[in-house]
């Protein structure tokens, strides 16, 4: 299989895919400095004037605190419910076990518009006022999955023997959780929370159906993307969002760990276990 020509082909293909992934992002960043309102390529003159225009934009000022509040609250809900669900599904075998794990991934397996219209329909019918609360409910529902996936993946990789050893050494359930289980899954929990935050901060498909007239950052972009006059400001907000998002995501990536990080963690755990 891995003949030299095949390897070269694969490398070329790999480079093409990477370029395809990054050129659009690069172009958005460049256009944020575009002096002209038009979108002609190549860009003629560069400017930073849109950054202050965006900073002083009233809608942006309204949307940003909303987005931060919603993402924080959705993350808190997701963190609690997602971790609990991961523990239950990992630890216990019970009637409907598979149904539960299927149920939890449903919000990401079903098309987004289905979740969106289902929630919209219920909110409408029960006459709950559309606003920050309804957005949080929607976001928490699919953020639970992200935390759940991260935590259960780590639990599956954690050797059950360390929990048994802890019990044998006389620790009660709480102590075992506090000193053995939690340290083993801590980074997965944090990574899940960061991803949930990013997911909520990013979300538009469901938000459009649950927000009413409440403005969030994605809703601001969605509303203004079609107004050519406002496109430079949208562009600056877009770049700001890219930069803001990359920080939590980068940390989450480091924490959840690539394959090597995981292997290293497993080795460390194995080495530490006898000393418990």
């Amino acid at each position: 299989m891995e003949t030299t020509p095949a390897k070269i082909l694969i490398r070329v293909g790999a480079v093409i895919t990477l370029v395809f992934l990054y050129v659009p992002l690069l172009i958005v960043v460049l256009y944020a400095f575009n002096d002209s309102i038009g979108q002609a390529w190549p860009i003629q003159d560069y400017t930073t004037k849109w950054f202050s225009a965006a900073w002083h934009n009233e809608q942006v000022r309204e949307a940003l605190p909303n987005s931060l509040l919603i993402a924080t609250m959705a993350t808190v809900f997701a963190l609690i419910l997602g971790s609990l669900a991961a523990f239950a599904v990992h630890r216990f075998r019970f009637f409907g076990h598979n149904a539960v794990s299927f149920l939890l991934v449903l919000p990401i397996a079903l098309p987004g518009i289905v979740t969106a219209i289902a929630l919209n329909n219920s909110i409408n019918y029960f006459e709950i006022p559309f606003g920050i609360l309804t957005i949080i409910i929607g976001h928490a529902t699919f953020c639970i999955v992200v935390v759940y996936n991260n935590v259960i993946a780590r639990l599956r990789r954690t050797a059950p023997s360390i929990v048994e050893a802890s019990m044998d050494l006389g620790a009660n359930g709480w102590q075992t959780f506090r000193y053995v289980t939690f340290p083993a899954i801590r980074t997965a929990v944090i990574a899940g929370a960061l991803l949930a935050f990013a997911l909520s901060f990013d979300e538009i498909v469901v938000t459009n159906f649950t927000a009413g007239s409440t403005l969030t950052i994605p809703k601001f972009i969605y509303n203004n993307i079609r107004l050519p006059r406002n496109r430079p400001i949208v562009n600056v907000v877009a770049v700001a969002v890219i930069l803001i998002m990359f920080i939590p995501i980068y940390i989450a990536q480091r924490m959840a760990g690539g394959p090597d990080v995981q292997a290293a963690a497993a080795n460390t755990q194995a080495a530490e276990t006898p000393g418990l």
Binding site: G13, I27, F92, P111, G112, V114, N121, G170
Partner: protein
């Protein structure tokens, strides 16, 4: 661990509580699973079932009021009206095209990361693949919108490379390109995971037995990574089926999602929207069953 030793003797309330829970695993199960399941059943499954019910309701044409009841009128409208059928076929067709394109584009990079790269390069590639996913979804559509303008980057590149004037503008081609871009990381990661799990020994055995590259790929590698491909395809397919934003911003035709969005908003015919929302659910149910048979859920 000194901390554990200090907290002895273990006859405080916490110990008794945890001992009780140890003896009564059902109590522990209820404590851990109760809250998340209640949330899901009430908020999510409740809403989905209610959506299902609403699909059988109808809209009073005169008062624009939703009338509860049981009628199959919405489904009849969807079935008999050519417009809805065309939109469904278009949505499924583009979703399939996007899924296949993403799989093809994913394979070389996934293969490189899983089997050719050094461990440092591999981690760098994985981070590089996932990062764009978190550059706001709308931002990524916006990127394609500005690249696809008449004198934008795509046409500039097409002329530069001698393809001539492409002028994709607002078209299904643009929607296809944008979707391929949006969901690529979702297909790539499961394919990568499948390739990484594939034991070298099987490939070596195949080549020892005289199989050439293509034969090994077709008969050994492909069956082994098929669950990963199926897993990745779920995301690309489902996300395309349920999207209304990319078609609205870079396309000029309607997708299932657009009809639903318009009926919830402007037209105010929620029962019809609810009925149409069942179409992607039904399609995904069939798709997930197929993916499950290919072992996709073990590869997630």
């Amino acid at each position: 661990m000194a901390a554990i030793a200090q907290e002895r003797p273990n006859d405080d309330g916490r110990t008794r509580a945890s001992a009780f829970l140890y003896r009564h695993p059902r109590g522990k199960l209820a404590l851990t699973l109760g809250a998340p399941i209640t949330w899901f059943l009430v908020v999510y499954i409740g809403s989905l079932l209610f959506l299902l019910a609403t699909a059988f309701w109808s809209l009073d044409v005169l008062t624009s009021q939703v009338v509860p009841g049981f009628s199959l009128d919405n489904f009849q409208t969807l079935w008999e009206n050519d417009v809805y059928r065309t939109i469904t076929i278009r949505t499924v067709g583009i979703a399939a095209a996007v899924t296949i394109t993403d799989i093809v584009l994913s394979f070389p990079l996934a293969y490189y990361a899983a089997r050719l790269a050094s461990s440092r390069a591999r981690n760098a590639v994985l981070v590089a693949v996932v990062l764009p996913l978190w550059a706001n979804y709308l931002v990524r559509i916006f990127a394609w919108k500005i690249m696809l303008t008449p004198n934008g980057f795509v046409n500039w590149l097409a002329e530069l490379t001698g393809l001539g004037s492409l002028q994709l503008g607002r078209s299904n081609w643009s929607v296809w390109l944008t979707f391929v871009y949006l969901w690529l990381p979702f297909t790539l990661l499961p394919i990568y995971a499948a390739l990484e799990r594939m034991p070298d020994s099987l490939l070596e055995a195949s080549s020892d037995l005289g199989a050439r590259g293509w034969t090994t790929f077709r008969n050994v590698m492909f069956p082994l990574i098929l669950p990963g491909i199926a897993a990745g395809s779920i995301f690309a397919f489902s996300l395309t089926l349920g999207d209304y934003i990319a078609p609205e911003l870079v396309g000029n035709t309607q997708f299932i999602g657009n009809v639903i969005y318009d009926n919830v908003g402007v037209a105010g015919n929620i029962p019809l929207a609810a009925a149409f929302a069942l179409v992607p659910i039904a399609i995904m149910a069939v798709y997930l069953l197929g993916a499950k048979r290919l072992g996709a859920f073990e590869a997630l």
